[in-house]
Symmetry: C2
Subunit: 201 residues, 2 copies
């Protein structure tokens, strides 16, 4: 019996294209028999290393304008409303910690629910009470999860994720990295990344 191929799905809660990828990756992976590990990280530290002063979508308004129009097209295709959160980008730190504090198998549902609040309803995702409510809605015990998310263990786990992302050469989100170390950047490369994972080149 061979193990199912596994990929790491690296995402940042503030990232619009990570939201699209989170919506799409499960069914694409299931079609191919690929297991997905959901890996939240923080782009902020990586952007600082690159010398960015903000999201490139804010630094370069022409890029931002394109991205938002592109998001409109994608959301229409996925049948989802698009509401821009203010400010953009949001601070994804508390959401990331909570995601990491949850049992692995509940992380995708939590992540997708937070992304929808952020980008389909325009809600702020740095509100711990709102995030705790999401935890309850996905049927995870709320208090232990929130308490765990505040511990140094979880803070360090998020920092290690971000360090690992940097070591892998990530410079944006989302990205899919195969077990062989191949990186594919962007929501528009999910299919290719998952094909690669099953040896379809």
């Amino acid at each position: 019996m061979t193990d199912k191929p596994t990929v790491d799905f690296w995402y940042e809660f503030a990232s619009t294209y990570s939201f699209l990828a989170a919506e799409r990756i499960d069914s694409l992976a299931a079609e191919r028999g690929v297991t997905v590990r959901w890996r939240p990280f923080l782009l902020g530290a990586i952007f600082r290393d690159l010398g960015y002063t903000s999201s490139p979508f804010n630094m370069y308004p022409v890029k931002g304008a394109y991205m938002w129009r592109d998001m409109e097209r994608w959301c229409a295709r996925l049948g989802l409303p698009l509401v821009r959160p203010e400010p953009f980008p949001q601070n994804g730190m508390i959401a990331s910690r909570l995601a990491l504090a949850l049992p692995d198998e509940t992380r995708p549902a939590f992540t997708k629910a937070v992304f929808r609040l952020e980008f389909c309803e325009g809600r702020s995702i740095d509100d711990e009470a709102m995030l705790a409510q999401v935890v309850r809605e996905i049927d995870v015990e709320q208090e232990p999860a929130v308490a765990a998310a505040r511990t140094d263990i979880v803070k360090h786990a998020l920092r290690r994720n971000t360090e690992e992302a940097k070591t892998l050469g990530l410079f944006g989100a989302p990205a899919v990295v195969t077990s062989g170390g191949e990186m594919f950047w962007g929501n528009d490369r999910l299919e290719e990344a998952l094909d690669w994972a099953i040896g379809r080149r």
Copy 2:
């Protein structure tokens, strides 16, 4: 009788992903009955406006490393060798002028041949003699084309292309713009752009 849908294919001769798109767009467009107008332009002026000091692939080595690995994967898939030209990026001005001086119907063949010299053989594309040789190889009369490429008419045509690209909000290459003004940036969005052009959303 309805006209065939038409898209503008904006490309920069120095751009690796423009090379891939030039290799792929004709068959993808033919499958969908879409007419492609080949529009060379110069990214340099647009990059300067954005405050870039070089190609982002040079400014941010981590992006450059990803791009070259991605190019290796894409070229392997297309059955093409990949040889990096030195320096990178090349200066595409003479090639762009010559492309614009040619009859429209010969521009794709010229463009693809120049891209292959640049990225499959690592040749410098600012060599007018080499470019003139390409003109001959695609069965266009060499001297009139080279002479036309040196005229102010053609220089202005290239400048107008670049101005139009800027007005459209282009910030990179390649991009496909539909007759309705929808822009799709990147080699990885060709299919989506051409689908959009025929009303497939």
